[in-house]
Symmetry: C2
Subunit: 147 residues, 2 copies
């Protein structure tokens, strides 16, 4: 039997979250955290609504997943996020010792890679999953803001 | 008339917060945010109590100050924190465009300086204010945990 729980399957859920952010006038980034093929956290960027720079999708999902698990380490968890995490989110992921990060589009300006942020040595990274869909959503957002 | 509102004056308030963390069995780091000599946020590390790696003193104060100000940018604000911020907190401070950061003790392992995290070009940094007091509190904490 085919495994339906692919990285694309879960990234689609993160993209649905990003679309919710879009509809609220937020920079459209969405995230979910998965353990044993079960989604234990879902979130989207809320920095404008909450007037809070810390309200990135990843930060909310890290807090929600830890709350669900009852512990601060996100062992055996995978974060799916539509955009490459920033320094702040990568720093939080470092502390969480999360097992795997899967992201969509690169952020060439403010992503953790170009900024040189360190992830935990236990953390595996996969990039480029549904990157075009994530990048298109960002482009649509910034075009709509210019109008 | 002598100005009582020195960096030491405010760092003592941050140290009081760090002592509260100590008393709760948390790594003793405290922070406050000041605007026009008025404290608008106070916090201490709560990562153990909340099972949440994002509950660093700085993160809580950034959220509280933005909530107080009704906007996400911490213009004309100064953060006083007893320990050098980590990657996550420095990343959040980057987004906040905070005007000034004053910290006490260096964190040679996980501080933003050794990790290479970028702060916003608008942000001034002062280090070493009451560094011995902050470092002593950390040392006392780790000695007490070994017992």
């Amino acid at each position: 039997m085919e495994n339906i729980f692919t990285d694309e399957y879960f990234m689609k859920k993160a993209l649905q979250e990003a679309e919710m952010a879009f509809d609220k006038g937020e920079i459209p980034v969405g995230a979910i955290i998965v353990v044993n093929n079960t989604i234990i956290a879902r979130s989207h960027n809320l920095t404008e609504m909450l007037h809070d720079v810390t309200a990135h999708a990843e930060m909310q999902s890290i807090t929600a997943a830890a709350n669900f698990l009852g512990g601060k380490y996100l062992k055996d968890c995978t974060l799916y996020v539509t955009l490459e995490p920033c320094q702040m989110c990568a720093g939080a992921l470092y502390w969480s010792q999360i097992t795997k990060i899967v992201f969509g589009a690169r952020d060439e300006q403010r992503g953790f890679m170009v900024m040189g942020t360190k992830l935990h040595p236990k953390t595996a990274v996969v990039s480029g999953v549904m990157a075009n869909e994530a990048a298109d959503l960002m482009k649509r957002f910034f075009i709509s803001r210019r109008k």
